[in-house]
Symmetry: C2
Subunit: 137 residues, 2 copies
């Protein structure tokens, strides 16, 4: 698989793939006779997992640290498990935040519907600023 194919399959750009390789997030692939990158299909699963980590808020530094442990093999299993456990806690917290916010957004939508129907005034309206003695506006 050439870099353009991999980009098409992952949704990442060719530039992003080269960037990931440069920083060490993905291993340097073999090259063909013309010096072009040739990827093994196994890279797909790894990139998909990295995307999951990214989508759930893991920064590139941590993803890189994880990638480096992974490259060192089974001896780093404990460290990787600890990283994953820490990330799991963050994801769980974020999940909770998302759920609360979803409820809040639903309430907001209801409120806006009422405003639109003329049933209530805008409750988020800015209070008219009152002058303060000697204020230097």
């Amino acid at each position: 698989m050439k870099i353009g194919d991999l980009a098409a399959r992952t949704g990442l750009s060719v530039d992003t793939l080269r960037y990931y390789e440069k920083i060490g997030l993905i291993p340097a692939p073999l090259r063909d006779a013309g010096g072009r990158r040739v990827y093994d299909a196994s890279i797909l699963r790894w990139l998909q997992f990295l995307e999951r980590l990214k989508a759930t808020g893991m920064g590139i530094r941590d993803r890189l640290a994880y990638a480096e442990l992974r490259a060192r093999g089974a001896e780093t299993a404990r460290e990787r498990r600890e990283m994953i456990e820490r990330h799991r806690q963050k994801v769980a917290a974020s999940l909770w935040e998302m759920q609360k916010t979803l409820e809040l957004l639903d309430e907001k939508v209801e409120t806006y519907r009422k405003i639109e129907a003329g049933e209530i005034e805008d409750p988020g309206a800015l209070p008219a600023p009152r002058a303060v003695k000697g204020a230097r506006t």
Copy 2:
């Protein structure tokens, strides 16, 4: 309330609050005789809501657009509702992603425990790269 107090209450830095004001995310507060910002307690709810939007992935451009609509009052209720509804969809999608990832992370942790116990080999191990004819490494 002075800016330092507001920073302490919100967890934002004094610089961040001034930055938010500069870009229009929060309204310019009144000033005291010495030219210092004096905040009304109502700013707290607004900042908390902005934090929710931010924590759930809404970028500063969209938060700013929302803030501008809000400042224009009740006539923008429909537009704000539509923004919130769009964001709701994104949050719902993200929530789903988080849940799937949480399961995946739990599986990973189990896998690492087994590797640590010596029960299995590292399934994420990199396949040994095979040479490609004429490769220019």
